[in-house]
């Protein structure tokens, strides 16, 4: 059974006790480059449907995640189980404001909503416009470091900025989330992976094509 109480506890406590790699250090060399080029990797969701699985400390949950850009350019993210029962419906406005339209009562906890909001915001890259990231080199990779709340969202590319290798969310002291978007087709990733480092909390999305998919 999906034990939400354990999940709430872990979401709250992971930021205090988890052991994960330190974020890119201020001591790493600053890089010079066109920081705006990272926006070429922002996904262009018109409408995409994903078969989704969530693993949290031994609990497994599956369903369908719909990501849809609305006429006002806001993005809606709806998660439902395979039989149609909705888990949540979130909205990210064009300016990045977050709104919960509905959420299953058992999931309706501040820590859960905040974690999911941060995870999706890392992927959507929709609140980065107007921000100038800090660029740093490390291990041959270019880190585009954006301030995000109390932490940072980092977009890691090869040194020539031709490929987005990985995304990560960090606190001041450590990396808390790693994420990848793979195999883009018309600006939409085919696979998405989100992995929390403090405890087992993994989200995997695999795109599926239904009757509503415009290709």
């Amino acid at each position: 059974m999906f034990n939400f109480r354990i999940i709430f506890f872990l979401l709250i406590s992971s930021s205090l006790f988890s052991c994960s790699r330190a974020p890119i250090s201020d001591s790493y060399p600053l890089a010079v480059g066109d920081s705006s080029r990272v926006m070429q990797f922002a996904p262009h969701f018109g409408r995409a449907l994903y078969q989704t699985s969530v693993d949290v400390v031994g609990n497994h949950l599956s369903g369908l995640l719909l990501i849809k850009r609305m006429p006002d350019s806001s993005i809606r993210i709806l998660f439902t189980n395979e039989m149609g029962v909705s888990y949540f419906d979130f909205e990210f406005s064009k300016s990045g404001l977050f709104r919960v339209h509905s959420i299953l009562k058992k999931m309706n906890r501040k820590a859960v909503k905040k974690t999911l909001r941060n995870d999706f915001q890392l992927l959507l890259m929709n609140n980065l416009a107007g921000q100038a990231p800090t660029l740093r080199y490390h291990n041959g990779h270019l880190y585009h470091i954006f301030k995000a709340g109390k932490g940072f969202n980092n977009y890691i590319t090869d040194s020539l900025q031709t490929q987005l290798l990985e995304m990560e969310r960090t606190s001041v002291k450590k990396v808390v989330v790693n994420a990848q978007m793979l195999n883009f087709r018309n600006g939409i990733p085919d696979s998405i992976g989100i992995s929390h480092t403090g405890f087992e909390f993994n989200i995997n999305l695999k795109r599926i094509y239904d009757e509503e998919t415009a290709e």
Binding site: L49, S53, L64, L66, K68, M83, G84, S86, D210, E211
Partner: protein, 196 residues
Amino acid sequence: MANAQYNGYSAMVNDAAFKSNFSIATQKVSTIKSDFTQEKELSLLADKISSKGKFWFKKNNQVRMEYTSPYQYLMVINKDRVFVKDRQKESKINTRSNKMFQQINRVMIDCMQGTVFSNPDFSTRLFENKSAVLIEMTPLTKGLKEMFSHIILVVEKKDFSVVSIRMNEASGDYTTIRFINKEQNVQLPDNLFSVN
């Protein structure tokens, strides 16, 4: 929708006669084999998620739903145990310890077994037209109310078989499962419903 009336249907005058006939008819059905289509209508998003698959029912309390397109997903209900297989994992769930699954399980079984009227978790109202009866089920328990505002079951008059199940959510979204190519009382092997 919590319509006092449904388009094309009028309130049934003789509920008792229908309930009795429905009960008698469904008692004679030991198995059902069917294809199904499922559509989740998202009113605010002006969108729809469609899928289809195969459905099997066997008395007592055994259901197998196999989604085949556009995704693969298998759910087998065998009394109070549920087996689920998605893209990544197989899971066994004891519905006694998972109330949400227990409630959905009961709804599905009641719809097929014709025991909707004895489920204390719902109140019912009946409507009819020339060929079908519409059973409006309103949840009475907190857990079900959170998931559904109503469940609408449409039953064919000619053989009392289920045409569709529509699950309405409070948000205005709804999911409709339609059963097509139905066959009753065909031989179904027990291993279709194995959860081991």
